[in-house]
């Protein structure tokens, strides 16, 4: 099972991960990224590159399947305005044994951060907004999977 979804509506981990536990494996691992109150942020807003976004996420899943013994993988990502406290992204994997699912989940979120065409803007309570700069720490985490 391979699932990629870009959603303009609120997402939930329960829906994003549905089916992963029914694939006959012994392990399901997941990561949920949540819009965070960083110094007065009230919401973040995500833009993406339609067309490329889905294919880049599916490519990451294909790469994860090639590297680990996976039974399923899902990536569900919000676009548009996401209020603080709401999920931005859910990544989940299923495997027979836990090591594959745990490592593949870390791989997928680390590589999504540097390889998938999303851009994030932070909105503040005073009405201002700022585009978020990429972090070198994200590059470091992503490159350890090279």
């Amino acid at each position: 099972m391979k699932r990629v979804l870009i959603s303009g509506e609120p997402i939930s981990a329960e829906v994003a991960l549905s089916g992963l536990s029914d694939l006959g494996g012994g392990a399901v691992s997941s990561f949920t990224g949540i819009s965070r109150d960083d110094g007065g942020v009230t919401a973040i807003e995500l833009e993406h590159y339609p067309g490329m976004t889905e294919s880049s996420l599916m490519r990451l899943i294909d790469e994860a399947f090639a590297r680990w013994a996976l039974l399923g993988a899902a990536i569900v990502h919000r676009i548009g305005r996401v209020a603080v406290g709401e999920p931005v992204v859910v990544v989940g994997t299923a495997s027979r044994h836990r090591a594959d699912a745990l490592e593949a989940t870390a791989f997928l979120i680390d590589r999504l951060k540097t390889d998938a065409p999303f851009w994030k803007k932070e909105h503040y309570a005073d009405g201002t907004s700022v585009w978020v700069d990429a972090k070198s720490s994200d590059d470091d985490r992503s490159s350890r999977w090279s």
Binding site: Y49, M52, V89, I109, K113, W119, W131
Partner: protein, 69 residues
């Protein structure tokens, strides 16, 4: 996101060449493309490095480092 369609000169073989050529098209282009290290590229929606050959690709996307997740 904005886009334009153009015929690149035949000496433009890789993305590096294409950015240099595009930067010469207007002061706005020059400003947008002045720092290549801060740009990311995709050919036909597949991310590639600055030295990638253009080959037969039809679409070059140029964008800032991504910040999703």
């Amino acid at each position: 996101m904005t886009s334009e369609t153009c015929d690149l000169p035949t000496h433009v073989r890789n993305i590096h060449d294409a950015i240099d050529w595009l930067a010469g098209q207007s002061p706005g282009h020059a400003l947008a493309f002045q720092d290549k290290a801060r740009l990311r590229f995709a050919l036909d929606q597949d991310m590639v490095p600055l030295d990638a050959a253009l080959g037969e690709a039809h679409e070059l996307a140029i964008f800032p480092p991504v910040t999703g997740g």
